[in-house]
Structure formats: C-alpha cells, structure tokens
Assembly symmetry: C2
Homo-oligomer: 344 residues x 2
DNA sequence: TATTTTTATGAAATCGGTTGCTTAATGTTT
DNA sequence: AAACATTAAGCAACCGATTTCATAAAAATA
C-alpha cells in the first residue's frame, strides 16, 4: 500500500497551485512552458498517476464505450470487435464488452450495467430473443449516443449500421438461378432478426424477378451452427424432387451442409450448387471452396465506432438522429461450390 | 440535460440524512427496515442512479477487469473471452478488453491505459513480440492481481494458466509415430512464445522416446494463418524423401495445408497423416476431419477469471504468489486425417 | 428508577481533479 | 507615462458517495 501521489503533492513539490498542475497536465494554454516543464518533471520523478475517478466525477465522462454482442466467440462478431477496438484505441477510448448469449433478459441486464457504469456511448447488436428496446430508453433520455450494428432495431429511430441483406441475398439467389438452379433451398436463422428476415426477402425477390414460384417447403430454419448440417441435409434428402441449389445464411453451416451432402454421395456443385454467407475463413478451406457473401465485420466495427465517436463531442445532437441507417457494401464472392457451368 | 438525482435529493425527500441513504443503498445493517423501505421507494419514484465515480473515488474500486489479448478476432481468443465474460458478469464485474496485435509497443500502451483506468485486476496473453514484462510492474507494485493465460511469462513469478503444451505435442507426435510415420514435419509459430517453444519440446521428446533422430529441416516456421498452407506445402514438396506425417500447431493452418496437399495429389492420411491443434470448428468440417488437440478456450477463460476474482477480495495476498501455474487438461482428439491403419 | 448497552441516525471530513472567478504581472497602445 | 489588454497563476467551490466519530433514542440490566 504505497501512498498515492496527487496533484497536491506535485503542486507542493514544484511550488505552484494544484490548479496549475491540473492545467499543465491537460495542456491548458494558460500555463507557461517553463512551469509546465517543471511540473512534468515532477510528475515523472514522483511517479504521479492521475486519478480518473476524481476527473470523471467532475467531467462526467468515462472514456468508456460499451458494446453488447450476442456472442463473443463468433467469427463475425469478433472481427467486428477487433475493428471497434482499433478505432476506440486510436481515440483514447476503452471498450467494455459484454455478451447477451441471445437472451433478452441478459441483454437487459447488460444494458443496465452499462448504463450504471456510465459508458459514454453504446454499440449494440441485438439478441435474437429481444422483443423491444425499452431497456435502451435510459440512454436516449440522457442523450448517450446509442448505435446498433448488424442486428438492428428497425423502428427505433436509432442509427443502425448494416449491410444490405436484401440485396446480398438477392444477388446470391440470382447467381444460383444463373447457374441453372430451379429448386433452391434457403437455410436461415431466427426470422425475428432483421438480418435473416431481410435475406429471406432477397431470396423471394430473386424468385419473383425470375418468375419462379416461392415454395415454403424449401425454407429451412436452423440455428446455423456447425452441427446443424446433419439435420438440414436429412431434411433436404426427404425433398422430392431433390433441390439443385442451396443458399445457407452462414458459412460454417454451409460447410457442414456440404460435408453431409458429400456423405450422401451428392456432388457439389454438379448436383447441388451451394452459396454461403459471411466469407469466413472456413469458406476458403473446405472442398470445394464456398461461394459466399463478403461480410466486412472489421470494417463494420471500425465504422460503427468512428460514427459513435463523431457524436460524442456534440451532446446537443443527442441520439444520432440525422443519419438513420448506414449500409456497407458487400459483394458476392464466387467460388467453386456454385459454378455449375464450368464444371459441366 | 436532466438534472441528476443524488442521495442528497433522496435524503431531502425522505427526510433523513445522506448518510442514511448511502447506508440503506448498501444494505448496511444499522438502518431500520422502515427507513430503508421509504428510501428505496423514493429511489424508485425519483429515478435515482448511483454515481459510480463518486463511489469509486472513495472506495478505490472500479469493478473493471482488464484483458489484453494478441488478437480479438481469433477463434481461440474469442472463446477465452467468452468464458471470461461469463465469469465476470456473474461476479458483477465488467470487462475492458484491448488487443496488442502482437506488438510489444501496443501491449505496453494498452497495459498503461489499463493501469490508468484503474482496473481491479488484469488478465494478459502476451504478444509474440513481447520481450519483457516490465510494463506490468506498476500492477505488481500496487498489488493489483495480474494473471497470464495461454501466452505466459514463465520467469515472472506471476500465476499463469496454460495447457501442458509439451505433453499435448508429445501425445500428438506419438500418435503419428504409432500410425507408422517416420518423417514428421512440425509447423509452428514464433518460437519466442512459450506455447510454440513447448510444443517443439514435446515433438522432440516424442522422437527421443521412440529413438528417432531430430531433423531440423523438418521444422517449418510460419505465422500459421489460413493462407500459410500454400507456402508450407511448397516447402514440404521440396523435401526428399517426402514426409509421411505433419503436425501443425493450429487447425486453420492445418486445414489450409491439407487443402494444398490435396491439390498436389497427396492423399490424407495415406501419404501424409496430419494432426492439428485447437479443436477449432474447422477441424470438424474439412475433409478428412482433422485429428487435433482439444484446447479448452472457454474453460481457460472462465478459470482464469474465477482465479483472479478469488484474489480481488484479499489485497494482502497481493500478486497471486501461492499458485504459480495452473494447467488445464487437453486431450488428443483422433479423427480421420491421421488414421493410417484404418484406411489401409 | 438509575445506569448501561444497543440501535438508529446525523454532521462533517474525505477522496482528488476541475473550473469559474479573481488577481497580479507583464506587454501593448496612444 | 497613463490606460488598456494580455498572460499566468491561485482561491475556493464543486462533483456525489462513503465513512469516522459523535449522539439521541430505545432497550436491557441492575
């Protein structure tokens, strides 16, 4: 238990007032260079460490940004976080991260903790369970910038950062149709999540554009994890006639599907062409490489954080009401798993 | 800008002193139940929110735990973080996370930020660049619990949580030898990191045990990412005679190697048996499934956090000096990529 | 009933920077 | 040289919860 050095100690040592020390440390212009130098020398000599609590208490700022994600251990989410961390770090901000584990209750609890921790801003990707966003009202009321990413709250009036899931799914489906697919199965996650709802829309639009009928029996709901492939494929194998295209809303799951399709003796892409989503590492490593939608997680995280930071300095502008939705570019990356022409 | 409600406002409303309000909120026994009830009613009615800065300023606790990892967007690390977050959340602690991006300088900067943010404890996995751990001395001096995980500082005297990398690599290599491999290539990362240094040891020990000679030309250094496979395989193809076993220190890289070996027309496991490391999702999805070492990231994170928490309440015990190393169990998971016998 | 113990509460100092206001010293203008 | 502007620095209040010490009221004991 060493005694803490305060600005008062520094002040006494240098022979100035605590005010001047405080000003010097914050590079206030009204401190003479010579005095400043003396103060910084003393700071170094005495091993002074600023007490952020005292500072926070006055300035009402923590320099902490809260982030709530559904899961930390997801390829996509951790890329987003990496991007956020970089941007935050560059701006001298800390990241407080928590996960909702897809539970509404836990998300509420986390939001509450964040609020009580007085984060300066909050970035959220919603849990699949989340039914309303009332738990973020305290932030809005207090004018704390709140921004959603990926899994956004459409109605909320808050800014959301997304990719155009409709367009991406449309492109993916169109690509399969171009490859000659007539019966395309679409595997997606919880439809309550905007992400999956939009992709389903995109899938339907593509059918419409090509004057193909939407067949509900070709839609398979799944939790899209790496084990889901077995069950999905067993469902697919029961379809009669078999589909010739498969659009899975997640690469890990697509990989799992491919694996189980191969076990059933089905050739990819000749019998069934497959498109995934995310451009995860795995899409480049399985055989055949998976055609997928590039989902720029790192960029999304960086952009979300930078956007939030922009709003930190002007509290009057409050809840990011000027821009309401930022859409990132995402392209279809065509690989072997879907290229029927070439393999014919 | 709504005015903040403080305990003074509550006190005035209820007709007691701020002292009593503070006591009531902290469930101090010396507050009459009736008074307490009145206070909590007022708290609810007035929408009071505790100001943690003021509390922190007095109690000198933040309830924040810092975590420094090399990269956020790594399968293993994000699992660790998920485990940590869970344990922290249960204990009412927040996680402040930053990444060193494998840079010594950035790690130092992050450690410094953490220190200035007055985290109550710190969990670190070292960057590959890190040459010394002097930047953690301020924590030790102040008695802030510091704990390393996975990439630990051997000499430091700080507790480290690891798996037995030597034993794991020994088992993996022995397994390949049992499958009849005579020339086993080992692909590893930066040898300065304890993790890879230990695995190399394990590999050598296995050779020794089986009276096989260590051949330095069979050791390949790599950054072990998903793109590294191509280069590694081009090196391997130049070996004469070709190896018959391959032990890669990371599943994503192993998958990449398998892919490129297959492109060269080499059969797995018949021509070359492959063992990976980590038990990443990918090891279960590529063809053939990869034999790998289970690396329990989630458990490691949970354990590390729980261990740290144990030391938070007894500041006298200081720097976790009683236990010096905690080793987690990790098993070899045998899959098709290495099973020569069965495929013969 | 008088005295001691227990219980419930409050006054005031404290934690350590920050900042509005004031003042002294120096520099500039006419 | 007088009047004004600028620069550098300090005083003291403040942020809001916590905590030590003191005290009034109630309960227990003699």
């Amino acid at each position: 238990m060493e005694k803490e050095i305060t600005i008062y100690d520094i002040a006494k040592d240098v022979g100035v007032s605590p005010t001047t020390v405080s000003r010097a440390l914050n590079h206030h212009p009204a401190v003479h260079e010579k005095t400043k130098k003396k103060i910084f020398d003393a700071v170094l000599k005495m091993g002074y460490q600023s007490n952020i609590f005292a500072a926070n208490l006055r300035t009402k700022r923590t320099n902490n940004i809260g982030v709530i994600v559904p899961r930390l251990n997801s390829n996509f989410q951790s890329s987003v976080l990496a991007g956020m961390e970089k941007a935050a770090n560059e701006a001298g901000l800390n990241l407080i991260i928590s996960q909702s584990l897809e539970s509404f209750e836990k998300e509420k609890a986390n939001a509450n903790t964040m609020f009580n921790s007085r984060v300066d801003g909050l970035l959220v990707s919603l849990a699949s369970d989340t039914e309303n966003i009332d738990h973020y009202k305290p932030f809005l009321r207090k004018g704390i910038p709140l921004l959603f990413f990926d899994r956004i709250a459409e109605q909320s009036g808050c800014t959301g950062i997304v990719i155009d899931n409709i367009q991406a799914a449309l492109n993916a489906t169109n690509h399969l149709i171009e490859q000659g697919c007539k019966r395309i199965v679409h595997v997606l996650g919880n439809i309550k999540i905007n992400v999956y709802a939009d992709r389903l829309k995109g899938y339907k639009y593509a059918l419409l554009e090509n004057e193909m009928l939407f067949d509900p029996s070709l839609i398979i709901l799944s939790d899209l994890n790496e084990e889901a492939g077995e069950e999905i494929i067993s469902k697919i194998m029961k379809l009669n006639p078999l589909p010739d295209g498969l659009f899975v809303s997640n690469d890990a799951c697509a990989a799992s599907c491919i694996r189980h399709l191969k076990l059933e003796g089905i050739r990819i892409p000749e019998d069934i062409a497959v498109v995934g989503f995310n451009n995860d590492v795995i899409s480049r490593l399985v055989e055949p490489n998976i055609t997928t939608v590039n989902y720029p997680g790192y960029e999304m995280g960086e952009l979300a954080m930078k956007n939030l930071i922009k709003h930190l300095d002007k509290p009057n502008e409050g809840m990011l009401e000027n821009t309401n939705k930022i859409t990132l570019r995402s392209d279809l990356i065509i690989r072997k798993s879907s290229k029927k022409e070439i393999s014919l």
